[in-house]
Subunit: 458 residues, 2 copies
């Protein structure tokens, strides 16, 4: 049972009565209704790649872990409707491959795509590097099948672009981290396969210039802009120091770089030429100081590797304190400036490692241990640092969890930032769908199991 | 009060204690909390352009009408974040203009855009002609402000592309037709303004060819395909007969035509050339038999007028029975064939007027009165015809209300097509948020006001 009782980073450890691995929706329903009958909590688990402990059971050992890995069939691909019907335990990579096999693109793409499952992706509303163009996981869903907390099956597997017949129930289960029911299958949107890609590494004077460059790129290239990532100097330096065969794409050690990718299903246009034109314009306008465009797939992969290896390089460097935050894209420069100033004041020698999906206003804003400091002392300042970073995010109208969810990690932290009205609404939804409080208890929000009545509900 | 007590088509007539016209969120909240205190039902009303009676009060005269037309400010435009913050009573046209003023596009576009309001568009999850590219109204929302049934204000006005901090509450109010609370303001997505458009009228051998042509266009032109409408011969003939200065764009009276539009924010590519290349390919493959590409804005408008005047032409022709249905795009040919055969059998001389957004699987499938038949006898067969059309839609996995909502018109009809599990979930949400049942009673679903408890809730 051990692998099911901890998260992959080993941050959380729990206990469970059993690990159950159903292979069909019917089996999931049978297990859940038995649990409902006997008041046994259920912790759904997909690929177990989450970062907030949302799939790890509590320490009390009261719950069962319901692992969905065997519920992994691709039920149908409808190329003319641009849809695919998949079961929750299907890995993201297998799903991407099935789409490609039908000449289509399933655009969700994450570092963990080889092991994460679509059920987990939907339950956490996963983001990734192509949200700028295709949206989060939520926006890729047309229909859902879910097992409700009492064990009944809701079949909402509709492959429709338009259906205005009442409340959009699928939205309740997406991003709920398994606290309202268990997603067992989904109808997902497919897109035309990509025929052209063009990738560039661009030196930008500062984050403000990066935001203006993004605007310019979207005006010049429209939806072909599918990725726009920003990488701070210290993040790039960590990769150059720790990842073999990595080299700085540009001279002069620019403080900030952007990784930009255009992609296009059309065979008839020239993405690289379009990218070059737009970037020259960007340089003229002063939004970029230098740029290199990959002239082979190998070069493009090398540029992407610089971005994708940041987390690994940070791990090799030592302990770090991480934040997954978002603010309006227009506030990113202000956030970076004010966060840096506030942190330098509280902690002069801390190393700020900032990078992320600037096109979505989503930054991974991490702190690496000063060389001198010891690990325990460093980690001991986590709450102090969270207060500085998260309070600033709130002031700027942002979110303290842009794409990773709440799980256990931020369940209580969020209480500081959401209004009583909003938490009340969330609790009333939880009690309406899961009155016994048996679905993934202790995650997202802590609700004491009771039947909510009347105006107590909100 | 009269204009507020009936819908614009005059299909529904109700009564009300009063019509209240608040000018701020604070005033809306004050009115709603007074109503909650005194158990007075509230019927929210925007531009009153709905097609299902969702904004018309009941005949009992118990409710007040809460008209949002004075709550119509544009609070903020953030061009760098591609967002606009607007109040519910703002007309769609005013919102589009404000976006354009900032060099941006707000893509929602409907026949009624001059008078419908964004609050109503969101409450009904409006569709329109650009859903193929930009999605329904729901997909254009980043944040909401809503007054809850007890009069409290939920401020969810976040302008974030990524925010995974619990349940996505805004989804509850979008498409709920005012039955869970009153939307007072929204943060909406903006897109780069369009610099190039190319429009074509295309003769297609049959609906199956149209579906394959759509696939070809998307592969060749990607997201530049922003509209793909299908128009049946009988629909086009009605326009040619009743609308002055309208002429058939192509010779040979083809049975089916498609109206295709490409649009692109990029100045550097040639949309018309791309459209021409893709259409020639379509002709080679046998998906199209003939095509004309507009070579001026006037010509493009003339082509669009043929599509947009169908409803008006139908009105001038006489009474009709209308259906707003959707099926998977891949099932459209089968739907059209089977629906025609079933109707011809039941009603040999009925005239089928079929057209719609084939790219979304959404057809407006209407019947016009046979010349000989009298109006009352014709309309008297509505239920019989609905049964034939809606049952077939259900068999094909479709929806009986693709974009118009349920309102009063389809509140009971939907009970035939949704499972008990799904209706139960909808009722439990309704009771959780509006335990007294005071928000737009009798619309979408009929819930007897009571506090749901325990497992009765689902």
């Amino acid at each position: 049972m051990a692998p099911y009782l901890t998260d992959w980073r080993g941050r959380y450890r729990g206990a469970a009565r059993a690990v159950v691995r159903p292979a069909s929706t019917h089996e999931v329903a049978a297990v859940v209704s038995l649990c409902a009958e006997h008041d046994v909590p259920v912790v759904p688990q997909g690929g177990n790649t989450g970062l907030c402990g949302g799939a790890t059971p509590g320490v009390d050992g009261e719950a069962i872990v319901l692992a969905l890995g065997r519920l992994n069939r691709i039920r149908e691909v409808d190329a003319d409707n641009n849809t695919i019907v998949v079961e929750a335990g299907c890995t993201l990579a297998a799903l991407q491959a099935a789409a490609l096999g039908a000449g289509r693109l399933f655009p969700l793409s994450l570092a963990s795509e080889g092991s994460c499952t679509i059920g987990g992706n939907l339950s956490t509303n996963a983001g990734g590097v192509q949200v700028l163009r295709y949206g989060n996981a939520r926006e890729l869903v047309l229909g859902l099948e879910a097992v409700l907390p009492d064990g009944r099956v809701w079949n909402g597997l509709r492959g429709l672009r338009k259906d205005n017949t009442g409340y959009d129930l699928k939205q309740l289960f997406i991003g709920a981290e398994g606290t309202l029911g268990i997603i067992t299958a989904a109808v997902l949107k497919l897109f035309p396969a990509i025929h052209q890609r063009a990738t560039a590494w661009v030196a930008v004077p500062d984050p403000g210039a990066a935001v203006r460059l993004l605007g310019l790129m979207r005006r010049q290239c429209g939806d072909r802009v599918t990725a726009f990532e920003i990488v701070g100097r210290s993040a790039l330096d960590l990769v150059l120091a720790h990842i073999p065969d990595s080299r700085d794409p540009l001279p002069g050690r620019p403080e900030w770089s952007a990784l930009i990718e255009l992609s296009d299903p059309a065979e008839t246009t020239d993405a690289a030429a379009l990218l070059e034109t737009a970037l020259s314009r960007g340089v003229e306008e002063g939004f970029a100081s230098d740029a290199v465009i990959a002239n082979s797939i190998a070069q493009a992969s090398a540029l992407w590797a610089l971005r994708e290896n940041i987390s690994e390089a940070q791990r090799l460097e030592g302990v770090s304190i991480k934040h997954d935050v978002s603010v309006p894209v227009s506030r990113i420069p202000e956030f970076l400036e004010r966060a840096r100033d506030a942190l330098r004041q509280a902690w002069p020698d801390v190393r700020i490692v900032a990078f992320g999906h600037i096109g979505d206003g989503n930054l991974h804003y991490n702190l690496s241990k000063p060389a001198a400091e010891d690990n325990t002392a460093f980690v001991g300042r986590t709450n102090e640092v969270n207060r500085i970073v998260h309070d600033l995010v709130a002031v700027l109208g942002g979110s303290i969890s842009a794409e990773h969810g709440l799980g256990q990690l931020k369940r209580d932290e969020i209480l500081r930032y959401k209004t009583g009205v909003e938490m009340g609404l969330m609790r009333s939804i939880k009690r309406a769908l899961d009155p016994k409080g048996l679905m993934n208890p202790g995650k997202v929000l802590d609700v004491i199991a009771r039947a909510g009545c009347g105006d107590e509900q909100i």
